[in-house]
């Protein structure tokens, strides 16, 4: 069955897969998703803590900062495994994205605190960087200098796990360009506005109304937001791609299992050629998705930044399409059962929709790929 296949000379990746499977046996992803939906939650604290204990929340962080010091190869294997088990915690944003944001800023007490906390789960630091869409009335966050630091005003959108967060990593415009600030979630002047995500977890926008942030919590200054965000987006997209590949592969397996068991007209429905051909198409899509993830990881490892960006754009686009379309077909092949809430295949579809739309839908990413490739 489809899986991202990496060289694994020391068996490290196999071990990681095994421990993810063990984790999944202890923490049912589907149950956790349903619980979140029922309680309007956004992060399963128990699962998150256990993931930290396994070394996963700080997987990419350097050992000196409390992390495991591993690379995207390990992250991809982990994210794929989490996707398969539908362990829908905000790893891509609250671990990979935040970790990559912090990895690039200069040493400070606050950075040290955040990194150590992310790794041991005492800190849940989520990025708040996305501006309101152009069609909305809301304005992006602007930082104005005050006596002891800055005051923030404006909005940030698509913040995962905002309710559970201890700290927000806020990207704000200022007169000299751009700032990255660490803002305690309980700060005065921050309001969390939540909306239900399609997979059950809440997604928030943050409103800052003159929120005061001391100078000591300024993590970085940059000429533009792009300089701060390029690497976090790249790494988070790749983690999402791996998670999507896992979702796609698992949804395929579940459907193969279901259609082999389901008997109509005196035969398993998987014996009908119309269904076999569909399953073969789905399998092929999942294989392409996994290969795209492997290619992105290897290209990133090879060190050519532009090539890596292309590969990651391709991988996120390919896996997003694969997961979304495989899950749609999977649902259909479950018949009316697929149209129920109790059947897990619907949760796979909903999770795929969420991740596919996170950090750019496939079409937008393909256009970026072509733009980048054709740019002189």
């Amino acid at each position: 069955m489809p899986q991202a296949m990496f060289d694994d000379p020391d068996g490290m990746l196999a071990m990681l897969r095994e421990s993810a499977a063990g984790f999944a046996a202890q923490h049912s992803g589907t149950k956790s998703l349903r619980d979140k939906r029922a309680s309007a939650g956004d992060l399963d604290k128990q699962a998150w803590k256990a993931m930290a204990e396994a070394g996963w929340t700080g997987l990419l962080l350097p050992e000196g900062l409390g992390g495991a010091g591993l690379g995207m190869r390990e992250q991809a294997v982990l994210s794929e495994a989490l996707g398969r088990a539908l362990i829908a915690e905000p790893v891509a944003m609250a671990a990979v994205f935040s970790g990559a944001l912090l990895a690039n800023v200069s040493v400070s007490e606050e950075r040290t605190r955040l990194c150590a906390g992310i790794a041991d789960s005492s800190v849940i630091a989520v990025p708040a960087w996305q501006n309101p869409s152009k069609s909305s009335h809301a304005r992006p966050v602007v930082a104005t200098a005050t006596a002891g630091g800055f005051a923030l005003t404006g909005e940030k959108h698509f913040v995962d796990a905002a309710r559970s967060a201890t700290d927000f990593l806020v990207v704000a415009d200022c007169s000299e360009g751009c700032l990255l600030l660490s803002v305690p979630a309980a700060s005065a002047g921050v309001t969390i506005n939540e909306r239900p995500g399609i997979d059950g977890a809440m997604i928030a926008s943050l409103t800052f109304a003159g929120c005061e942030v001391p100078e000591s919590l300024v993590l970085a200054r940059a000429e533009s937001a792009d300089a701060l965000l390029e690497s976090p987006i790249l790494h988070a997209r790749l983690a999402l791609a791996a998670e999507l590949a896992g979702i796609a592969s698992r949804a395929l397996e579940i459907t193969i299992g279901y259609t082999k068991d389901r008997v109509q007209f005196g035969k398993p429905i998987a014996s009908f050629q119309a269904i076999q051909h569909r399953l073969v198409d789905m399998w092929s899509d999942a294989e392409f998705a996994c290969a795209a993830v492997v290619n992105a990881v290897e290209t990133l490892d090879a060190g050519d930044v532009r090539a890596a960006q292309l590969a990651v754009l391709a991988a996120k686009a390919r896996t997003g399409d694969a997961a979304f379309s495989i899950c749609r077909r999977a649902l259909h092949l479950h018949g009316a059962m697929g149209f129920t809430d109790e059947c897990d295949i619907g949760l796979y579809l909903k999770r795929a929709i969420n991740l596919n739309a996170t950090l750019g839908q496939s079409e937008a990413l393909r256009l970026q790929f072509v733009d980048l490739e054709r740019a002189a």
Binding site: Q130, S133, S135, S136, F158, R195, P196, G197, I198, G200, I203, V263, Q264, F265, G266, I269, F272, A274, I275, R328, L331, H332, G335, A336, G338, F339, T340, D341, E342, G346, I353, N354, N356, A357, T358, G360, Q361, E363, A364, L367
Partner: protein
């Protein structure tokens, strides 16, 4: 006696029907988010139609219907959709009525038809079972004759609106030895009978609009038999008749395309050539669906009968509905992550709700694969 609607020219009928409906269908019930409102939620509209004599478009006037020809019936359905009227619990009107009018005894007609019109009886359809979906003929819920009663044991599933219905027309097996299609019988059962249990099932959209229905020694009087014992398969299959065309009607994609346009306008998507190109494909698919639908509508208008080839419409329209709602999620961009409705200027568009809903019509009413099997055999006469 009511007018003979069929005498009116089509456009005249359309005007009369449309203006009354527009005036009388309560605005707060238009464009309901729910695909399948419960009886109580739309009762005022149901009763208003009944009072006007317009609740049962196809029933003969002697039974309290409008006696519409298939052609006029199509206008009725079209205008209903265009005005955003809610779906009413319509198993009584659409299925039980025609069933009884064709196969029922005088007594059954006199008893049940008025009660459908008054809303006293709300019906649901008990065909599918856990192990009898596409292969409906393999159904196993059994009924055994005991004196002047049938005793029913077994289980139905996916029974739409069973939790708001009080009657069910149910397919049961009355002969286990015969070929599957031969041993099936149609019975009418009061859901208040001892031994009936109804369990709602929550669907993908988070609503409970279909149910499991359990029968544990449920006794049904012999007079509730429709047609003859063991001939229920023919009865059950024949009720749809010309109404099969509606499974292929452009209603759902038409509505969804309107919502897509609204969303796209609000988001400036019409300035994006890539969107316009995809939109154009959907728009023309809908336009051309109209042409093919018209081809079959003409058959009905000229008094002909539909052939098996009408299944092609059902496949096309359900897939188009899916493609349009998928495009909505694309236009939504990152907001496709949300479960709730999207802002679209003044008003909201329920993109995700429609996307999830669009998964169902490809499954029910004979799944699209089953429709293709029918087309392959009955139209193309392929071997095997």
């Amino acid at each position: 006696m009511a007018a003979d609607w069929n005498e009116l020219p089509d456009e005249e009928f359309r005007k009369v029907f449309r203006s009354w409906v527009d005036e009388n269908c309560p605005p707060h019930l238009r464009y309901m988010r729910k695909q399948r409102p419960l009886f109580d939620e739309v009762a005022e509209w149901y009763h208003a139609l009944a009072a006007k004599g317009w609740l049962a478009p196809t029933w003969p006037q002697e039974h309290g219907g409008m006696g519409l020809s298939p052609a006029k019936h199509m206008i009725y359905v079209e205008e209903w959709g265009r005005l955003g009227c809610p779906r009413i619990p319509d198993h009584g009107i659409g299925l039980v009525g025609p069933l009884l009018i064709q196969y029922g005894t005088q007594e059954q007609k006199a008893h049940y038809l008025p009660r459908i019109l008054s809303g006293e009886h709300v019906w649901c359809q008990g065909y599918s079972e856990p192990n009898a979906g596409s292969d409906l003929a393999s159904l196993r819920t059994q009924a055994v004759l005991d004196g002047d009663e049938f005793v029913i044991n077994g289980q139905k599933i996916w029974t739409t609106l069973a939790h708001c219905a009080n009657w069910i027309f149910v397919l049961v097996r009355t002969d286990k030895e015969a070929k599957p299609q031969r041993g099936i019988t149609v019975l009418l059962a009061d859901l208040a009978s001892p031994g009936v249990r109804v369990r709602p099932i929550t669907n993908l959209r988070g609503e409970a609009d279909f149910c499991e229905v359990f029968f544990d020694n449920v006794r049904v009087p012999v007079k509730n038999l429709v047609g003859k014992v063991n001939e229920g398969w023919t009865v059950a299959k024949s009720v749809l008749g010309h109404e099969r065309i509606f499974l292929g009607a452009p209603t759902r994609p038409e509505y969804a395309l309107g919502r897509l346009e609204r969303l796209a306008e609000a988001r400036g998507a019409f300035d994006d050539p890539a969107f316009v190109s995809r939109y154009a494909k959907l728009r023309l698919d809908l336009y051309d669906l109209g042409s093919s639908f018209e081809r079959f509508a003409k058959v009905l208008r000229s008094g002909g009968e539909l052939g098996a080839d009408v299944s092609m419409l059902k496949i096309f329209t359900t897939e188009l509905y899916q493609r349009i709602t998928e495009e909505m999620l694309l236009v939504a961009g990152e907001e496709a992550r949300f479960a709730d409705d999207l802002d679209a200027g003044n008003g909201q568009v329920d993109a995700m709700n429609l996307f999830l809903d669009s998964r169902a019509p490809a499954i029910f009413g004979g799944s699209n694969e089953i429709q293709k099997n029918i087309l392959a055999k009955a139209v193309l006469e392929l071997p095997g």
